[in-house]
Amino acid sequence: MMKKLLLVFTVLSLLVSLGACGTAEDPNGNNDDNDILNGENGNDATDNDNDNDNDNDNDNDNGTDNGNGTDDVFDSELERFTTVLEYLQTYHYKDIATEAFFQAAIEGLFRGLDDPFSSYFDASEYERFQQSLGESFVGVGITVENIDNRPVITKVWSGSPAESAGLQTGDTITHVDGTDYRDKTYFDILGVVIGDEGTDVEIGVKRPGVEDTIFATMTREQIDNPSVESQIIEYDDESVGYIKVNTFGDQTFNLFTDALNDLEEANIDGLIIDMRNNSGGRLTTVTQMLRLFLVENDELPMFSTQQIINGEMSEPNRYMASRSAPRDYDIMTLVNQYSASASEVFASAMKQHGGYDVIGQPTYGKGTMQGGFSPEPVGEDSLHISVGKWLTPDGTWVNRGDGDQEHVYPTIDVSPSELFTLRHLYLPGDITYEYDDVSIATVKPMQIMLNAFGYGEIRHDGYFDSATQTALEAFQSDHDLEVNGTLDSSTAQKLNESLIEYREDFLNDLKVVTALDELTNP
């Protein structure tokens, strides 16, 4: 599973802002997001905002003045809580301060919800979360992969500080700002590489085949991270438009519209919309995007939402389509198991409302939507809470664990080829593998690569037999490597590079090829 260095939150978020978000001084919450929500369904959301503000006022006064008859429970639970707090402060051998316990209790409240999508953000976490919805983020410009709990660089972004400083694909991060992180976890290291724009970071890496640690200093800057990428694929004498949507961010709708216009001007015969690995984003963005394709239908909403209002789940708010006619070409949506939230809203609407095909694997299954809250007592912090659910056009709640259905299911099932899920080869301590060795973790993926790259049809179970040796020698010979039939670090590096090239070729991508076949041979 690839991870961009700056997207620390694997929170898949469908952002619906409810009033108080980031506007502590504007309790009526008149911000854009809110208007968009209201625009569709009149007063419900507005009422909700007012309730929210009233409650917050109560909290500020007293915190226990919730006036709905549960005071007794509140009081006895508060006593229990206070008793435990007192014991922890007085008797635990670590002698921890009270303030820290309240923060821990807040974290405990969230953990107790058993909902990975509700979070308490401090100011800098909130900022990073916001960045994840923009078209750039602050970083050094590398993609890293967690291999055996080590951060291994799998891509250095072109034109990035990391590229200028000389970091390379295959480097393993060992030091940050002079501290040795070899005994720390992947996430610990990731946490210190991240920082503010304009600050310097010194990264030490272990490079395969190089004995000493290599140190490079770079300045963190805004890295372009476009949410929409598009191109035309010529296939079978036809032109097919391809748009990849990485996230449903602030500018995604505009960028998507521009891309679509460009493709239509080029007279495409079909369109592929790629939602793979897209973990969601803003509800307003996906609403606008669906309206580019779906045709007015009084019976069926594109999707609907339900929220907790006054402690009760509201009636569904229906989001309706508005076009008078469909586009004059067919559309295929690609999904995988990491397509979540707004991606699932999109895929299920295209499927159930538009009757379009969805290609790939069952989606992640995140049927909740989050709202932001910043009441005065939390200061610069922010609460990001699952306030409701979204439902597909036919009213199904798709949520793994407790939904009516676990996933959005594709109409055409296609799993990626093994080459797309393979991890990169990693040889810790420059260990090598040769004839008669066994390694499921390393020799097996090497064998799968050699088969895919056309170096034979060898066994691929991790046993390094003589046919494996012959295939590896042929690969080494073709890539100007020392022909020794041994998997060493320079051979591993070349295999990893070949793997990246392989994956970048659309014709190796089974889901894209299936979509192209469907669109060009209807």
Binding site: R80, E107, R111
Partner: protein, 476 residues
């Protein structure tokens, strides 16, 4: 491997503090702000989270959050039921159906059926995979969820469905959960070089452990006239402080060092207590203590006391390293719940804090180091999909197979999970020796025979390198 009852690693110092101490949190300014922030967050979650969490659950989460922040796995908030289960673990019995289970690919697999248990009477067998509990299909559930469903109250019935190798249909059996004997002390006497040597193994330092140990020892001394003693504390996760105190006092004699010391915390100050030995005569025989990396807490108090205070040998591997002790707190505000808090630390006779995270030293180190043998570490082989292990394949289970074959004397084959010709020859030799059909492939029948053979091998203590080393000590 896991008993159906999970034994927490805990050293319980049973000084129960007066249950009704006056609790009065007097917040300073900073605390008031923090408390207001906390209560605001709680109100928002209560009012807006889609799952409509109950007030009790939210508060429980908050308490759990504070406890998690201690980063101390031994401080635990027990609900009444959890506390009962914890108490059970210190007794000589527990409630269950009498099986030891193993996690195989997230399946609950029966590793051992205890003799004369409800499971045995109902017909459960080692190797059975639990698929159903009380009519519910658990094949897609996790190991832990299945385990939790099997557990329950004494006297209640549970219906288990199991997938048995070679049987097409799921087998259903009903059994009643009952008190299962789980003695904390087991023993035998072995004659080594003409000298009777006593062997006593302690699983946990429970409520009756001291009395049983003392009776066992007296019998060994009076009836068997033992000339040496081995105390086995391997895999012993600890228990009560007063139990280990009394046990040490059976062997250690007055000295200027304490057997161990404790330091308890109270509002930033430290109360130190030293526990002195009271005996005046050393036992007329040598005593050897065996430990491994799972000997924790009270086991380490014992081993460190025997080593540093008594000058006795300790055999095995460095211990776990748990140097804290827990005190139970209860209070009317907490109803019947119990808070176990790491209230202090214990120190060895030489005043060393042994704690693997932040102590002076991370383990109690043996005086004679003996590693475990690979044969004692291997997992049972299960063929969940009935596909045999065979020549020219790579499979992680092949390594388990190869280690077993080597230990049982059927060869000296590679153990890297590649099933080569030598492995095939060894499998054939094993099948020949067991009277099985000789195929060179490990099918279910062969796998079960191998699992049983290795169990017999382990039960023969002459194969146990640490016990052998302990007995060898008495050879001189």
């Amino acid at each position: 491997m896991k008993r159906l009852l999970i034994l927490p690693i805990m050293l319980v110092a049973l000084f129960i503090l007066s249950a009704c101490e006056d609790i009065n949190l007097t917040p300073n300014g900073a605390n008031q702000e923090e408390q207001a922030r906390f209560e605001t967050v709680m109100e928002i979650l209560k009012g807006y989270h889609y799952s409509e969490p109950s007030e009790e659950d939210l508060w429980q989460g908050a308490i759990q959050g504070m406890i998690d922040s201690l980063e101390d796995p031994y401080s635990v908030y027990f609900t009444e039921e959890q506390y009962q289960r914890f108490r059970d673990s210190l007794g000589e019995t527990f409630v269950g159906v009498g099986v030891t289970v193993e996690n195989v690919e997230d399946n609950v697999v029966i590793q051992k059926v205890w003799s004369d248990s409800p499971a045995e009477r109902a017909g459960l067998r080692a190797g059975d995979v639990v698929t159903h509990v009380d009519g519910e299909d658990y094949r897609d559930e996790s190991y832990l969820d299945t385990l939790l469903a099997v557990q329950g109250e004494e006297g209640s019935e549970v219906e288990l469905g199991v997938d048995r190798s070679g049987v097409d249909e799921i087998l259903f059996m009903t059994m009643t959960r009952e008190q299962i004997e789980n003695p904390t002390v087991t023993s035998f006497v072995e004659v080594i070089d003409g000298k009777p040597i006593g062997f006593i193994s302690i699983n946990t330092f429970g409520d009756q452990t001291y009395d049983i140990f003392k009776d066992t020892l007296e019998t060994m001394e009076n009836d068997d006239a033992i000339e040496g003693l081995v105390v086995d504390l391997r895999n012993n996760g600890g228990g009560r402080l007063d139990t280990v105190l009394n046990l040490l006092d059976l062997f250690l004699i007055e000295s200027d060092k304490p057997m161990f010391a404790t330091e308890s915390f109270h509002e930033g100050s430290i109360d130190r207590t030293e526990y002195d030995a009271s005996g005046d005569e050393r036992k007329p025989y040598e005593i050897v203590t065996i430990i491994n990396e799972y000997s924790a807490s009270a086991s380490e108090v014992f081993a460190a006391g025997m080593k540093q205070h008594g000058g006795y040998e300790v055999i095995g591997m460095p211990s776990y390293g748990k140097g804290t002790m827990q005190t139970p707190f209860s209070h009317p505000n907490m109803n019947e719940d119990e808070l176990h808090l790491s209230n202090g630390i214990w120190l060895t006779p030489n005043d060393v804090w042994v704690n693997h995270i932040d102590g002076d030293q991370s383990s109690v180190y043996p005086t004679i180091s003996v590693e475990r043998s690979a044969a004692f570490e291997t997992f049972n082989i299960y063929l969940l999909d009935e596909t045999p292990l065979r020549y020219d394949t790579v499979d992680e289970r092949n390594a388990q197979l190869q280690i077993k074959l080597n230990a049982l004397g059927y060869g000296d084959v590679r153990t890297d999970s590649y099933f080569d010709e030598a492995t095939r020859d060894a499998v054939e030799a094993f099948q020949q020796g067991q009277g099985l059909s000789v195929s060179g492939e490990v099918d279910s029948e062969t796998a079960i025979a191998l699992n049983e053979a290795i169990l017999d091998y382990r039960n023969d203590h002459t194969n146990d390198p640490k016990i052998t080393a302990a007995f060898d000590f008495f050879l001189d």
